[in-house]
Each structure stands twice: as structure tokens, then as C-alpha cells.
Amino acid sequence: MNRRSPFVWFMMVAGFLFLYIPIVSMIVYSFNASRLVTVWDAAHSPTLHWYRELFENEPLISAAGLSFKVAAINASCAVVLATMAAFALVRYRHFRGRALFGLLTTAPMVLPEVITGLSLLLLFVGMEQWIGWPHGRGAVTILLAHITFSMAYAIVVIQARLLTVDRSLEEAAMDLGAKPFKVFAVITLPLIVPAIASAWVLSFILSWDDLVITSFVSGPSSTTLPQLVFSKVRLGVSPDINALATILVSVVSVAVVAAGIYMMRVEKRRVLDLQKALGVEQ
């Protein structure tokens, strides 16, 4: 069944062209000298002018710094909470309020962003009135909002992995007298570390990318990179945004390719181990 019809071939080629032409066009035009983004200035191109301009753009650099910090802290908090929640959902089949808990862990994923943003802002305004915290809106409220929605995605990733963990290993450790926390730290945690790492990366990217929820919960003193980019591109195309896109796409590509190579190696090693275990000669 390796034969694929010409139709499938055509759709694949056309589909990938569709996915990649806009990305490639941003990369190409980032080296264009003309300020009019879409007119190619052959005499002065390619140029790194827009990259230099990008790095000299103070507000943009500080917005990127804030986004990076928020994304990193968010990812770290989200995976801790998500690991606990996933553990609760997979290991404790019966506790009071489990159905509501299950609903609450998945709901943030299917809620439109405008609703999440609006509801969190109303909460923060209310909290400030009642308990005086958080004071105003800024990095802290952005962080709290981001943890709430990225946690839901992290739970799905970690939960899927936790379901495949062989429980007999944990039971053996318990039988030998290990305390529950030690069993988790020595047996379960190393087995789910790959999932925790993917959940961290996913949470980082969700936070790094978010515009809508951030716009609701951020204050005047804190502007994240997506907010800055959005306010800029609303006024039209801008060549330094192309340069920014090129840098971000390159970073993501390197990360994705590295992850891909790692995944293939792991897969190959698994097959080899399996062959060894079954006594099959290479």
C-alpha cells in the first residue's frame, strides 16, 4: 500500500508549498533594502540593515526580554502543577470532586482566548478590590494567566506518558519499603522526564506566543513581544518584523530538527534493544 494516488501527491506538494511560501517570503524580504517591504530593491539587497535596526530597537529588546522571562517562569511553574494534576488524574481514580477536576483541567484548552482573558482580568480587578493583591496589572498577572492556560496543555502531555508507565515497578519499590514520595522521585519521575521536557517546551511556546490573553491582563508598564509586534503590524507591513520573524523561525527550526534527530536516535536504540532482548542477530 505504498502507492499513493496522483491526487494525494498533488495535495501534499501543494499543501506544503502553502504552509511554507509565507514563511520563506518573510525570510527573503528580511534581506530586502527597500522600506517598501514588497518591492525588491535589487541594487542594495541583500542587506542586514533591518537586523541591525532590530537590535538597536530598545523597546523591542526589552519586550523580548520580558516575554522570555515570563515564558520560562511560566513553563517551570506549569509543569510542576501539571505533573501533580496528571498524577492525581491517573493514579487516584476515586476522590471527591474528581469529575469537576477532570473538567477543569481540560476546559482552558477549548475556551476561546477572549473569554479566558476577559474572565482573568475581571478576577484580578476583583482581587485587588477585596484583598489588595495583585497590585495593578503587569508581569505578575500575565504570569498567573499564562500558567493557568498552559498548564492544561502540559497536563495532557504528561498524563499521556504517565498512563504508559508500568505500575509494577512502583509496586515493587513500595513492597521493598520505599515511601510514596521516594517511589515518585526514584521510579516515576525518571520515566516521565521526556514528557515533562516536552510539556515545558510547549508551555514556553504557548506563553511566548500569546497575544489575546496577555492583552487583557497586562498593564501599561509591561509590554510583551507579541503585543509590541501586534501594535506595529496593525499599521501595516514593516521590514524589521520580517527580520524578527526570520530569527524566530531559525531558532524554532534548529530546535525542531534537534528534537527530530533525538527522537529518531531513541527510536533506533529502542529497536536495537528489542532485538538484543529477543536474541535476534543483527
Partner: protein, 308 residues
């Protein structure tokens, strides 16, 4: 009060050990505080009246005299939302744009996912990562890329004019066409990934058996492949449709001023008009519509399982 709450939590029999209570309790509490309660506040404000203050809403519950509590529920916001033709149009338009975009992504995404799942060896990994890559690249920047491509002086118009397909540059930006294009483009990876995992799991011997018995490939596809991947189709459609209904960025950047979508209307009511009660009422109605869709789909799915 808090101390007593904590003691009762510690002493009550929840069906789990002490250590487990922390494992369950901490994320549970987080979701209560930052997800469930905010949602109840939206509900509350949807029934409030607007006032000129900060926050710009009247309280629902007031103590008019000592020990006399007055509860005022204001249904006007919902009446306003349902009667105003602008909001009605925004809802209908959002559902239409999201629905058509979902069907289009399915039509493009299914053959792509099928092709990737049928590729063998390392090439399959490469193609899979090529779907994941745009998924991880900034949503905002991928929408922005079309601003350059679709512009009047942009490459697409240059090609169309050079090939004499159109006599002069076409206005693509600020039209519904650009919104559909942006939607399909942005959400295509969300459709391909669940479809890919569904098609990959498909047992190929079923198809071989059908072919051996003289079944034509097209018929085999519609009687075997399509029903067996129905779950992937459903998952992909939900992953595209739900965020698409509430989408803000795409209509704001690519659509014109008359491209009404509900996410944009909520945003404008909130930031532009500072009408928190109406924005909240719109959010509640949007949520009710989406919950209705999910419930109907679940029922359809359950019925399908029972029938099998």
C-alpha cells in the same frame, strides 16, 4: 475562617491518603481560583449594570438597610445582545467563517495527513516535523506574513498580473477572502496532526482484504478508511472550529472593518466602549453556543459507538 477550612480539608475523609491530598489539592485550588471563580465573575457581571466608575459595573448585591440584602439581576445585557442586529450578525458570521474554514482545512488536511502517514522510512519523520514546525512558529507572525504577500504591490498580485490572470492588482487584504485564507493557513497543522495519528493507526490488512475481494480503491476509502478515522476527523474539526469561532487576530489583521467576528466584537466592547457587562454577556452566549456544539458532537459520537 481560612484556618477552619484548612482543618476540615485535612480531617475530612476524601478517599485518599494525606500526601495525595496535597498532590490533588494544589492544582485543584489553582484551577478553582484562576479558572472557575473568574468564570463565575463573568457570569455575575453579565447580569450587572454599567456605571461610570472603576470597575465600571454596579454591584449585584447591595445592603440597602442593615440586614436587608438587595439582589438586582439585570437581564438587559442579554436582551441587548439578542436583539441588536450587529451582535446577531457577528455570531452568525463567526459560525459561518469558522465552519467553512473547518471544512476547507479538512479537505486540504486529510489528503496531506494521508500522504504523510503512507510515507515510509525517515522521510515520514521529516514530513511530520515539517507540519510541526509552523505549529511552533509564532501564530501572529504567520498571519502577518500574509499582509506582505496579499498586498496590492505584493508578490501574489505581481504574479497574477504578469500571467494576465487579472488586468490590475486585486484588493485581497481587508476582505473575507483574506480572513478565510488566514484561518485555513493558521489552523491547518491543528487539523493534520490528529488526522495523521488516526490514519497511522489504521490496519492496512483491512484495505488489502477489500482490494483482494475486488473493491475499488475509492470505494475502499469511503467504506473502510474514512469511517475508521472518524475519531481523528472529529478531533481535528473541534481543534480548528472552537478557536476559530472566537478568533481575534486574523479578522483584526486581515479582515476589513466590516468583517464582524464575535472575538473582535468582545474585544472592542471591552477595550473600545469599556462596556464590561455587554462584553461579559457576549462571552457567556459564545460559550453556551460552543458548549452546545461539543455536547451535540459527543452525543453523535456516543450513538455511533452504540451502533457499532
Amino acid at each position: 475562617m481560612l484556618a477552619r477550612l484548612f482543618t476540615s480539608w485535612r480531617n475530612a475523609h476524601w478517599g485518599v491518603r494525606m500526601g495525595a491530598r496535597w498532590v490533588i489539592g494544589i492544582p485543584y485550588l489553582w484551577l478553582w481560583v484562576f479558572f472557575l471563580i473568574p468564570f463565575l465573575i463573568v457570569l455575575k457581571i453579565a447580569f450587572s449594570n454599567i456605571q461610570l466608575a472603576m470597575p465600571p459595573v454596579e454591584p449585584l448585591v447591595r445592603f440597602t438597610e442593615p440586614y436587608v440584602m438587595q439582589l438586582r439581576l439585570h437581564f438587559g445585557n442579554f436582551a441587548f445582545v439578542f436583539n441588536d442586529s450587529l451582535y446577531r450578525e457577528a455570531f452568525v458570521n463567526s459560525l459561518k467563517i469558522a465552519g467553512v474554514s473547518t471544512v476547507l482545512t479538512l479537505l486540504i488536511g486529510y489528503p496531506m495527513a494521508y500522504g504523510i502517514a503512507r510515507t515510509t522510512g525517515a522521510m515520514r519523520q521529516v514530513l511530520f516535523l515539517m507540519v510541526v514546525l509552523p505549529f511552533f512558529t509564532s501564530f501572529l507572525l504567520r498571519v502577518y506574513a500574509w499582509l506582505g504577500l496579499l498586498g496590492k504591490a505584493g508578490p501574489l498580485n505581481a504574479v497574477l498580473v504578469a500571467l494576465h490572470i487579472v488586468p490590475e492588482p486585486v484588493q485581497f487584504l481587508q476582505t473575507d477572502f483574506a480572513v478565510y485564507l488566514g484561518m485555513v493557513y493558521s489552523y491547518l497543522p491543528f487539523m493534520i496532526l490528529p488526522l495523521y495519528s488516526a490514519i497511522e493507526k489504521l490496519d492496512l490488512t483491512l484495505l488489502e482484504a477489500a482490494m483482494d475481494l475486488g473493491c475499488k480503491p475509492v470505494k475502499a476509502f469511503f467504506t473502510i478508511t474514512l469511517p475508521l478515522t472518524a475519531e481523528g476527523i472529529l478531533a481535528g474539526c473541534l481543534l480548528v472550529f472552537i478557536p476559530a469561532v472566537g478568533e481575534y487576530v486574523i479578522p483584526a489583521l486581515l479582515g476589513g472593518p466590516d468583517t464582524l467576528m464575535i472575538g473582535r466584537v468582545v474585544w472592542d466592547e471591552f477595550f473600545g466602549n469599556r462596556d464590561w457587562p455587554v462584553a461579559s454577556a457576549l462571552a457567556i452566549v459564545l460559550l453556551a453556543i460552543l458548549a452546545g456544539f461539543v455536547l451535540i458532537l459527543q452525543r453523535v459520537q456516543n450513538r455511533g459507538e452504540v451502533a457499532e
